[in-house]
Structures are given as structure tokens and as C-alpha cells.
Symmetry: C2
Subunit: 342 residues, 2 copies
């Protein structure tokens, strides 16, 4: 089993015939990215509802999944070689349609992930560049290790998407770095997210891609109580600005503990017990002042107030460290999830 | 020579292989249409410049042309059998790259054509439905005449695009008919125009499609003096509304004949001599009051003030008559442009 990596298709076409499979991959990549740019722009202008932001990327990812299937993509994952797990599930698990569900969810997640970890000058573009460079590094390693065959071609395809993306993001970065003269809005975030999803899915690197999104995954999981309204969530959760010191400080949300249902109260108490962000509860009135649940506010809580560009650099440093770790996991611990390190 | 109609590809695939050529056609159709929806929405929000409205459809049509080429599209047109012409050019003319230029221009023209003949309740959607039904009629005739082969498949492909388009346009029409509660903006106009261009190009009916746009072509040619600023052009040229009689009247533009260059003065004098629209020139001051150069204002000038829905019906009647004539030309006079009536 190839564990979803590799698969047939994408190779050198029989001489004389046009490489239609290759053309289809480029066309559906452009289609998905174009749809998400449109969605992002519409969201900027019209402030779409949350549910629309979920099913629209799903629709846009359908052509991707069709082309992945036609391209002979694998849907089997390796069960980690732990005694209980392999006894229960066998050495490998043919996920079939569930693997397509995973890829659709990946497209939805990527599209929104960068948009959630946002609101600081240079952060959206910066994290996109770090992730893109990590994908490029991974592709180059694979292209170097597999001088021919579908793995070679799939990683080349991913490179063809990622290199121009790095170029235009670097150009945008010049204007978006603190103090920003250009702001990215949802359009760039959705564009970047879908570009990663496309490169991951059509490059047959979907699982590896998720490894490069660890800070975004952590941020999403940490945000879940606010996103699903267990805890009140303001429209924007970006850090506050302290004009006196020219530093950013954690932004907070105020509410009464009595208004929350049991799961919300549990979240607030857990955050206070773990010192996870600012949590102040007035014992008399049960009035809560709590920092908004993003890793941006968490970084400001942990390291103290920072100037905006220092904060961006700190978060990008975390992203880069996670990327280095992810590549290490991918090539040193991969036997847990892949039968051979490919 | 097949005169650009027909061509190879799109047929039943060899058993066991996936019809990638067919998938590519659908993907690039969706890509072009999605790009133009995006452009239309951006134009509504940002009021794009004219030059951007020209090169963006050009970019969006490039994938179409690639797929047309891969699909084995013909690029040869038949020279009308007039003695001088055939002596000069031979019986048929292999246009090669020029035919691709024609198709790119067709995409640009279609995208903007419906947007120019607009501004009256129900007119944009109504003309789109009339054109779409004409395309459907043409496709059905072709599918019926050619029970198999590429001509059959290409016209079926066009039907697959046109039938859902007619459905959603009819639904929109209910809300856009006088008195309109929903307005279409540039988004629908660009969407409709590109859908026609895609159906025409990938259905290998590009030249026939142009026959169905005769009112739009006439409107465009009549508009050229204003579009290219030979004569002053206000931002909107839709008819004026006379509240006292509840009728629409031609909208006018005022300027001094002395401000114009020679070509502009020639246009004004020609319109007055031919009684083409309202043209009043004060002999003493050379001050001109001239109706805006659209066939909408021309219809109001010719038939007198009308209520908005009557005007739409009149213009749609003209469109339908032109469509009937176009189908007649296509199947009775086609020997002028096609070697066999296919």
C-alpha cells in the first residue's frame, strides 16, 4: 500500500498524445483557487455567514477530488505499529470514501486556517510564505529522492504552484510588513489557503501538508470554544493597541459567568487553572474578563506586550520551528504512518 | 475543410479509460465562467477601468483556446464564392492563429455585449434567455442531424451548459421583470456573456454564435463613437424617466460642437442627417443636445415614449426576430461561409 502518497497518473504521456491528465490538474487547480479568491472578495464586501464559508470551499474542492480520483490517487493509510491498534485495524486501513472526506475537510480547513490566525501586520503573508517554503523544501526533497515516476511528477506539480505563490507573496509582503500600507483582507487568506490545499491534494501530499499547519491547527482548536459560541466571541479578536507604549496587548472579551452553559463555564475555569491567557473572574459578581482565544493573544500573554513587528516575528519563528519539526517527523518518524518512507 | 465547425475529440472514449478530454472541457468552461463572475462582481464593487475589462476576459479565455486546440478545433473558414474573393484568397482560408484571435475577441465581445445593452428592467436577463434559447434550438437541430460523431458531442456539450443557464435565468427573470425587485448588475451580464462564449467556442459554434448577437453587435457599433469618446459619454446612458406620463424617454447628452474633433463632428452631423436618434443643434451657439447612442434610446426615438416593460418587450421582440433570421441564414445561406451545411 502506498498510503495515499504517490499513485498513478501524471507521468510522461505516450508520445504523440496530449497530456490531458496534466492539463486537467492545472485547470481544476486554477478553478478551485479562482473560486476561493471570489469567495474571499465577496466575504470582504458582503460579510458572509459562517455556514457559507464552510460549504463554498467544499463545492470548490469537488473538482479537485474528481481529478485526484482520475489521477489514481491512493486512499489507504498505514496504521501506526502499536500492538492494540494493528490488532484492531490490521497493518493498513483502506479509507476509501473517508479519505475523500478527509481531503474535502482539508480544503475547508486550509481555506479558513490562515484567515483565523490573522489581524497583525505581515502575519497572514508571513505564515503563508513560511508554509510555502516548507512545502517547497518537501517537494525538492521528494523530487531529488525520486528521479522519475509519479512521485517525481506530483511533487513537480506542487512546485509549479508553490514557486509563483512564494514570489507574489514576497512582493505583497514588502507592502504588508509593519507599518502596513496594504492590507490583505479575506481575499489573500482564502487564496493562500486554497493554493496550499490544491498543492497538497493534487501533489498527493495531503497528510504531509497537515503537518505544516500545526500552529494553525493549534490556533483553530484553541479557538473552537469561541467559534462555536461556548464563550462569547466578538466580531474581531485581533490584539489591542496601547498607544502610550506603542505596544500590542491581548484583547479581551467581557461577560458574566452566569450567562454561560456548563461547557462554556468549564472552558473558562480550565483556562484559568492552566493560566492559558488572561482570565480574571470577579468572585462577587461572577463578571469575567478573558483574553480572546487565539495564539496571538496567548503569545502576548506569555511574552508580555510587544511592538507589532516583534509579535509577527515571534509568531513566524514559532511557525518556522514547527515546520522544521514537521519535516523531521515526516522523514524520521514516518514509519508510524507510511509503510516505507517515500 | 470543416470551416471551424466540428473537429476531432470529445467522442466516446476508448473503453476503460476516463474521458479526460471531456473533463478538461467542463473544467475550463467552469474556470472561464467563474473568472468572469469574479470580474463582474469586482466591477460592481470597484468600478474597474475600461482597459481592465478588456484584458481580463482575454486572460480568462486562454484556457478555453488551449482546450479548443487540444480538442482538434478547426481554424479554416470558407471564402464566400464571389469571383473576386475566391480569386484573391482561394476557396478556403486557413486562418490558423488568427482564428484563435477571433475566438479571444469573441470572448471579450460576448462578456461586454450584454452589459452594454442594459439598464432597463428585465432587458439583460430577457436578451440572455432569447439568445440561450436560440443556441439551444441550434444545438438541437445539429444533434438531430448528426446522430453521432464530434459534431453531435460538441452540440451536446453546448446543451449541457445552456439548459441550466436558461433555467436559472428564467428564475432570475421573475424577480427582474418590471417592476424589478432584483437587479442584475455587471455580475450577471459577464456571467451570461462568458457562458455564451464558452458554449460557442467549446461547442465549435463560434461563428454561428456571432449570428445570434446581431442586436448586440449593432448596439456596439452604434455605441463606438461614445465608447471611444469621439462624442462625450456620460457614466450611464440608460433612458430617462418621465414621472408625469410614467413613460421612458431617450436620455440625452449636452455639449458644444466646437469642443469636438473632426470625427466627432462628422458623427453628430451624420446622425442628424440620417435622423438617427434625437439631434438638436442650436445654429447660433453650436450647442448640441443628442440622445445617447444605444439602440434602446433609438427605439424610444423611433416608437415614442413607452412604459418600461413595453420597451423591454419591444427590444426582446427585435432580438427574437434577429434570432429567427440568424437561424435561417445559418441553414439556408450557409454555403457562403461553410463548404457543406453542417
Amino acid at each position: 500500500s502506498t498510503g495515499g502518497v504517490g499513485g498513478a497518473g501524471g507521468g510522461v504521456p505516450p508520445s504523440g498524445s496530449f497530456p490531458l491528465a496534466h492539463l486537467s490538474k492545472f485547470l481544476c487547480a486554477l478553478l478551485a483557487i479562482c473560486c476561493m479568491c471570489f469567495l474571499g472578495f465577496a466575504d470582504n464586501v458582503l460579510d458572509l455567514r459562517w455556514r457559507d464559508k464552510l460549504w463554498l470551499p467544499l463545492c470548490a474542492s469537488l473538482p479537485l477530488l474528481v481529478v485526484y480520483a482520475v489521477d489514481g490517487g491512493g486512499t489507504t493509510v498505514i496504521v501506526p505499529p502499536l500492538p492494540l491498534l494493528t490488532k484492531l485495524l490490521g497493518p493498513s486501513l483502506p479509507l476509501g470514501p473517508l479519505y475523500y472526506l478527509f481531503m474535502a475537510c482539508l480544503a475547508i480547513f486550509c481555506t479558513n486556517a490562515i484567515n483565523i490566525l490573522a489581524g497583525v501586520n505581515g502575519l497572514e503573508v508571513g505564515q503563508s510564505i513560511v508554509i510555502a517554503l516548507t512545502v517547497v523544501a518537501n517537494n525538492l526533497i521528494q523530487v531529488w529522492r525520486w528521479p522519475e515516476g509519479p512521485l517525481h511528477d506530483n511533487n513537480l506539480f506542487s512546485l509549479y504552484l508553490m514557486l509563483p505563490f512564494v514570489g507574489c507573496s514576497a512582493a505583497l509582503m514588502q507592502h504588508n510588513w509593519f507599518p502596513a500600507r496594504v492590507f490583505v483582507g479575506d481575499t489573500y487568506c482564502y487564496f493562500a489557503g486554497m493554493t496550499f490545499a490544491v498543492a497538497g491534494i493534487l501533489g498527493h501530499n495531503a497528510k504531509t501538508l497537515l503537518l505544516f499547519f500545526v500552529p494553525q491547527v493549534v490556533n483553530f482548536v484553541y479557538s473552537v470554544p469561541q467559534l462555536f459560541r461556548l464563550v462569547p466571541c466578538p466580531r474581531h479578536r485581533m490584539p489591542g493597541y496601547d498607544a502610550a507604549t506603542d505596544r500590542l496587548v491581548p484583547s479581551t472579551v467581557d461577560f458574566n459567568l452566569g450567562e454561560l452553559r456548563a461547557p462554556g463555564r468549564l472552558v473558562v475555569r480550565a483556562c484559568r487553572a492552566l493560566r492559558f491567557g488572561v482570565v480574571r473572574i470577579d468572585p462577587a459578581t461572577q463578571q469575567v474578563t478573558m483574553s480572546n482565544m487565539t495564539i496571538i493573544n496567548l503569545a502576548l500573554h506569555a511574552c508580555g506586550p510587544m511592538r507589532e513587528d516583534r509579535l509577527t516575528l515571534a509568531l513566524l519563528g514559532v511557525q518556522a520551528a514547527c515546520s522544521a519539526l514537521a519535516l523531521l517527523v515526516r522523514y524520521q518518524l514516518a514509519y508510524l504512518f507510511y509503510d516505507v518512507v517515500k
